[in-house]
Assembly symmetry: C2
Homo-oligomer: 340 residues x 2
């Protein structure tokens, strides 16, 4: 049964089912156009004879500094990864800052340095920006929006598209799940033993560029951020002519992350990642892709975690460690507000 509400809830920003309802029933309905209607993380546009990818994300993560990153690094990586997921080569970003009056200049400088550093590493640049300041108490320290533009290489490889996915296709995740969510969770709760948690926040273009420059058999990609891998898989399967089956045993989760998830009652499948890509690969090409991924430190824990099936159309099923099968639903409600 659908929740109906006349007020915005935290769950509307969770990446889960309530957010999807809001997008469809409000934004897509009013902004009615075929490009937005695709509900991709990036829009594909035609600029003269070139295709370009265009994406946007606002970042409100709390705390703004966490092990492995900060709101600035996250903002740059998040938008880069949305472009990468579209199969594009990230070219440049915009940066829009909303600052709270009284925010320390030193913290802002640290964040900006961090953005500059990761942008340089990923070979993108900040092309344009904007700064707004609101009165003390009217926002929480700093919010950053990054929008990004990506280009497509001069290659004859077809654009990635959900429509090309079919039974037999293999699912690859580029590394451990849940690192970002648990690092932020640990930082937020000032857990003493949290020192061992690190966000996976990273730009993925360098990892994937080599693969995308050849016809590698990659059919589709999406970065499983808010709502985690489970929600991403549900988005792919929902309304489609195929099912998705994943194997619990094959899903890489660090024991420490699994442990913290158990303590808080989280399922790592729903925890946010900020440096992982889910890849849908053509059957027979998965081993080659895996091999290339594993050569890069950002992909060394990549794994094949499941496949696209003819059965259970529109659904995601999980084969558990003990051999049972259960349906995986989209995140409902809110798990970790302000995770990105």
């Amino acid at each position: 049964m659908k929740e109906k509400t006349d007020r915005i809830l935290l769950s509307h920003g969770s990446g889960g089912s309530l957010m999807h309802d809001l997008i469809r029933e409000l934004f897509v309905r009013h902004f009615d156009n075929p490009i937005l209607g695709k509900e991709s993380d990036s829009a594909l546009l035609q600029a003269g004879s070139s295709n370009i990818a265009f994406t946007t994300d606002s970042f409100v993560v709390d705390p703004i500094f966490f092990p492995g990153g900060d709101i600035g690094k996250l903002a740059v990586c998040g938008t880069i990864n949305d472009l990468v997921a579209a199969g594009a080569r990230p070219h440049c970003l915009s940066a829009g800052f909303i600052l709270e009056e009284g925010f320390p200049m030193q913290a802002l400088e640290r964040i900006v340095e961090s953005m500059a550093e990761v942008a340089k590493l990923a070979e993108v640049f900040i092309a344009t920006g904007d700064t707004k300041v609101v009165e003390k108490g009217k926002c929480d320290k700093i919010f950053i929006n990054t929008s990004g533009i990506g280009f497509f290489s001069q290659r004859d490889v077809p654009l990635l598209s959900k429509e090309t996915i079919g039974p037999g296709d293999q699912l690859i995740i580029t590394g451990f799940l849940g690192d970002h969510g648990m690092a932020v969770m640990a930082a937020r709760n000032q857990l003493e033993h949290a020192i061992s948690f690190q966000s996976d926040c990273a730009p993925l273009n360098i990892l994937l560029e080599e693969i995308l420059n050849v016809d590698s058999g990659i059919k589709f990609m999406r970065d499983p951020t808010r709502g985690g891998l489970a929600t991403t898989l549900c988005e792919i399967a929902s309304g489609s002519t195929f099912g998705i089956k994943i194997f619990e045993d094959q899903i890489p989760v660090r024991p420490s992350v699994k442990g913290l998830c158990d303590i808080f009652g989280f399922d790592p499948l729903y925890v946010a990642n900020e440096g992982k890509m889910l890849i849908v690969a053509k059957k027979g090409r998965e081993q080659n892709i895996l091999e290339i991924l594993k050569k890069n430190p950002l992909g060394k824990n990549a794994a094949i975690i499941g496949e696209v099936t003819r059965e259970n159309k529109g659904w995601v099923t999980l084969v558990t460690s003990i051999g049972g099968t259960r349906i995986v639903n989209m995140l409902s409600g809110e798990q970790l507000p302000r995770i990105c």
Copy 2:
């Protein structure tokens, strides 16, 4: 003497001199690249054989509904106008929402409808979006970021550039100054007699498209938003090889706006506009441009307000109604926080 501060002040978001210092000394310094370094409202990028314009703006206006518009309409118009100022034809926008928990769904729908309506009018579409929700009290109702992409027509007209400006060039403003700032000010203070103030918030692409499609003699444009016309003119003159002279008598300001400015102690030259463009035209072409502008309701009060001079290099001077001359400086400090 330069103000130095270790905390963000409201003035850092004013559009004035403190914001310019922040941009140069923090953002441009760290994000070091020639495109950002130009400090245009839009970045010019090369996509294959096409030029594209890319811009971003976050909107935090308070109140979110005001006579003549709302935060949504403002967000769409503001970004369209930044693209228009670059001489580009706005193509599409992104929309990033930061919502406060508890924000009424009905108000969100009204804002989204308003965005959709003005986007349709301006013939742009919302290509991609993002929604974040923060806990009650962690932002003020709703903030919207719009980034935009514009294309350039298939024409041999040179790209607009500050570098082409020289002595003799004529300055045109497309209508009355200060309407937006005073409408927001009136709404904020719930002034009973405020009913007569209307924001000028409007997309300017339709007004300017006809002119930009021919080699009209337009050399440069900028929309005088935060910081007003005075700040925009100072940005143009600053560090250049020419001066700018404007004539108080020729600057169009509604008597009601002038009156409210007098009451609050504001100078209309510094008050924000959201539906006006400053045009720098080649000498001899200004009457033709003015004629075309005046045919459109959005340009019917356009006026030639000054010229580019060989004297007073780097400075803006105002010839007052009584024949005196004074220097016009960039806005310093904060006049109206959260005007856009």
